[in-house]
Amino acid sequence: MSAADLILGVPSREPTRHSPATRFIIYGLLILFALVYLVPLFAMVMTSLKPLDEVTGGDMFALPQHPTFEPWIKAWGEARIGVSETRGINGYFWNSIKMVVPAVLISTGLGALNGYVLTKWRFAGHKLVFGMMLFACFIPFQSVIIPMATILGNLGWIGNRLIDLTGSSFGFGNPTVNLVIVHTVYGLGFTTLFFRNYYEAFPTELVKAAMIDGAGFFQIFRRIMLPNSTPIFIVTVIYQFTNIWNDFLFGSTFAAGDSSPMTVALNNLVNTSTGVVEYNVNMAAAIIAAAPTLFVYVVAGRYFVRGLMAGAVKG
């Protein structure tokens, strides 16, 4: 039984019996903590639905007296982000989508193949290879960021030459392409880990039997592994989606200005020092930035927890 099953399943053993007073304290504490976790989100939502004078003049926790969607509309289409000419965060939202979708698909696909090789087609040294890929999950990105910037800079140069020669850069130097590369590369360790641990528990006899029947590497993968991999695909896609959508360090380093992803734009919007601080617009933008991952969490929380536990290596 995996760690996630233990959390999500119904506990099998008999509970300790408690007196009504103890029960009361247990529920009291649990509900108090739940409120602590919910209060910042509540304050965010309330603030985003109030006109600015009500935010600065009133209580953060009060329900809006004149509820308005104006801050949301402003955040999405009109707010000024840093020094950019383009208004609103909508462009950055799409930047993030364009970056997340290919990066998630490529890293997940490669992870599935890697996990399959590392469990069902083992070779001498497979453990070392896996160990090296696993450690890649945990490095601080500060230790790769300078070489990465140099390499991406060179790709940009190639792109400019290609524009001179052919009129098109073929994606070389395109910030979104750069971020797809970076997130795919540094996501590989996790996707490989997920699939490796999942396929480890998959009966090798089935694979052996197919081999004896003459099925090849890809045939076995397609006919036997893939049809049984739906849960781990969902877990991996959700994990990668959440991580890449929420990334800030790579986004702020490798994509500037109008090509920034959502998190970078949000940070620029919130920390612009000029003019009046529009708390309500900031909060609306923050909720929009959080919406996709929160939505996934609400819809597929079980798979989210599975990914979380697998990412903690134990499992």
Partner: protein, 315 residues
């Protein structure tokens, strides 16, 4: 080459089978090779590149003028420079403060919540997702929310004043000396649910028979936890500690968003130190040196852990 072999294979089935077999042996390695090569270059190669840069005199651009350990010497001197404190000194002190608070509070809160949730309470399915949802948010969103929540002008302080307690004072988020504590508060809020999940999995994994035996022997619930359950969970403590320590060292986005781009380096951490020295202060070699120190610290924590994890799985 294929044309030369094909007729032979047609003539003698044995040769064909062995070729097929040999191909079967090569394909898995060919499939894994690109991913492994990517990791070798982009993780290990780049780490080595950064290590080399730390021995050079690189400023705004990288050069390969080797100056030995001078940059390490510089950071060593800065480690003790307190009057005025060097940025590196501030970064290390803050790392200790932030890391200590973050790890201790996440562990205590996580364990408390897990034990409370494990009392076979009603509504676990509602409460548990509430403790976990902050994990779906990006650190930038979390930081934005907490910056508003703790802002003395409109947030917590003002709300308490409005309630009538006018002497209440809480301006940490705008006070350079106290900012780092606010980063820790936001970090604990975001991650403690994760630790709760790890402990909950650990608690549910404890053999019910042992608990029953303790109950029959008349042990109180408190004594059962103190003497039996928590000692059994020692490996979970270790996992949680390691995951938290490595997340603390990598923290970057949260500092920038809670403090509003880290004004005056008040909430400096090694991660922000590396970034500002490399990309804004034009001291790339010093930045690389700090990145190497971060990497070494994480490697010292993660490698023994991963090694033991992989070895355990083998048994």
């Amino acid at each position: 080459m294929t044309t030369a072999i094909a007729p032979a294979a047609g003539a003698a089935g044995g040769v064909g089978a062995s070729l097929r077999e040999r191909l079967q042996n090569v394909v898995p390695k060919l499939v894994l090779a690109p991913s492994f090569l990517i990791v070798l270059i982009f993780v290990y190669g780049f780490n080595l590149w950064t290590l080399l840069l730390s021995f050079t005199s690189s400023k705004a651009f990288s050069n390969f003028n080797f100056i030995g350990l001078a940059n390490y010497q510089k950071l060593w001197t800065w480690t003790f420079e307190t009057d005025p404190p060097s940025n590196w000194y501030t970064a290390l002190v803050n790392m200790g403060l932030f890391g200590g608070i973050y790890i201790v509070f996440c562990l205590v809160l996580g364990l408390t919540l897990a034990i409370l949730l494990d009392q076979k309470i009603r509504g676990e399915g509602i409460l548990r997702p509430i403790y976990l949802y902050p994990l779906a948010l990006s650190f930038i969103v979390t930081g934005t929310a907490w910056k508003l929540f703790l802002d003395p002008r409109i947030g917590l302080e003002k709300a308490v004043h409005d309630l009538g307690w006018t002497s209440f004072h809480f301006d940490w988020v705008v006070n350079p000396r106290m900012m780092i504590y606010c980063v820790a508060i936001a970090g604990v809020w975001q991650t403690s649910g994760f630790v709760m999940a790890m402990f909950l999995a650990g608690l549910r994994g404890v053999d019910g028979e042992i608990l029953k035996a303790a109950q029959i022997d008349g042990a109180s619930a408190y004594a059962t936890y103190r003497r039996i359950v928590i000692p059994i969970m020692r490996p979970v403590f270790l996992s949680a500690l390691i995951v938290l320590a490595h997340m603390a060292i990598k923290s970057y986005d949260l500092v920038l968003s809670v403090t509003g781009k880290n004004p005056g380096g008040a909430a400096e951490l090694p991660s922000t130190f590396m970034y500002s020295y490399t990309f804004t202060r034009n001291q790339m070699a010093v930045g690389s040196t700090s990145a190497v120190i971060m990497l070494m610290t994480i490697a010292a924590i993660m490698i023994p852990y991963l090694y033991s994890e992989l070895r355990e799985k083998n048994q």
